[in-house]
């Protein structure tokens, strides 16, 4: 296989993860897929700078988040913050504690600040270590930890779990099996 074909296949294989990260960052829809497209084009153009044998996904995520955050900062100056509105739409159902609908969860996730959401996704969902996440975000490991902690607290609050001492009987397995959100 030629180097070009290998590059193409490697990028193709990363597209599902790239889409998930893009949607996590920017919400569902065309914007997320545009972000994937831009990331692929930048990665293609810059592939000479990718160190063979290092983590391709981490490299691609870095390109994507830098693209997203530079656009986000631009857009912020133009568009009014609508956090309050969206938060008002978020309805919590105390009787359903521990039985969170994925749609509710997604809505709560959207309420987090972009840097908190990014940290939580990298650590809790994408399986990166704190060190890798810090490298991707271009910040200190302690900063990632702090953002993840704050993100968790905010999520629990939004999902009205912060006052719950126990989860409902149909909650997912609660011990041992899901270490990804635990601090190292």
């Amino acid at each position: 296989m030629t180097a070009i074909a290998a590059l193409k296949n490697a990028l193709l294989a990363e597209i599902p993860s790239l889409r998930a990260f893009a949607i996590s960052l920017s919400g569902n829809g065309d914007k997320a897929d545009d972000l994937v497209q831009e990331t692929l084009m930048k990665a293609w153009a810059a592939h000479a700078s990718f160190a063979e044998g290092s983590n391709l996904r981490a490299w691609l995520f870095t390109i994507m988040r830098n693209t997203y955050f530079s656009q986000y900062r631009k857009a912020r100056r133009e568009v009014q913050d609508v956090d309050g509105e969206a938060a008002a739409r978020l309805v919590s159902h105390p009787e359903q504690q521990g039985h969170l609908d994925l749609a509710d969860f997604r809505m709560a996730l959207e309420q987090l600040s972009p840097d908190q959401r990014e940290a939580l996704i990298l650590i809790g969902a994408s399986g990166f270590s704190y060190e890798e996440a810090a490298e991707i975000c271009g910040c200190a490991v302690g900063t990632v930890k702090s953002r993840v902690n704050r993100a968790r607290q905010r999520l629990l609050h939004l999902l009205a779990l912060d006052s719950a001492d126990e989860l409902g009987p149909d909650a997912a397995p609660l011990s041992g099996k899901s270490p990804a959100l635990h601090d190292n």
Binding site: I4, A5, K8, L11, L12, I15, P16, S17, R19, A20, I23, S24, D33, V36, Q37, L40, M41, W44, G98, L100, L102, F105, R106, L109, L120, I121, G124, A125, S126, C139, G142, T143, S146, N149, R150, R152, Q153, L155, L156, L161, A164, E166, L167, A171, A172, P173, L174, S175, G176, K177, S178, P179, A180, L181, H182
Partner: protein
């Protein structure tokens, strides 16, 4: 970096472990539900296009040298 944002959490910091694990499960379910969605065709087409351009570019520079 904002001091305010990054300072360590005080007192009420730690989220209870079972709830934390539950949150972790939700997060992974959310993410993997997107990962398993079918990928729009536009990306494969884009990569085909980039590959084609790169190949024809390489041929052209080869011809130029000859």
């Amino acid at each position: 970096m904002s001091q305010n944002e990054e300072k360590p959490l005080n007192g009420k910091g730690a989220v209870k472990k079972p709830i934390q694990a539950h949150l972790g499960d939700q997060l992974k379910r959310y993410f993997s539900s997107i990962v398993s969605e079918p990928v729009p065709d536009r990306f494969a087409s884009l990569l085909d296009e980039l590959e084609k351009r790169e190949r024809s570019g390489a041929e052209q520079s080869q011809e130029a040298r000859e």
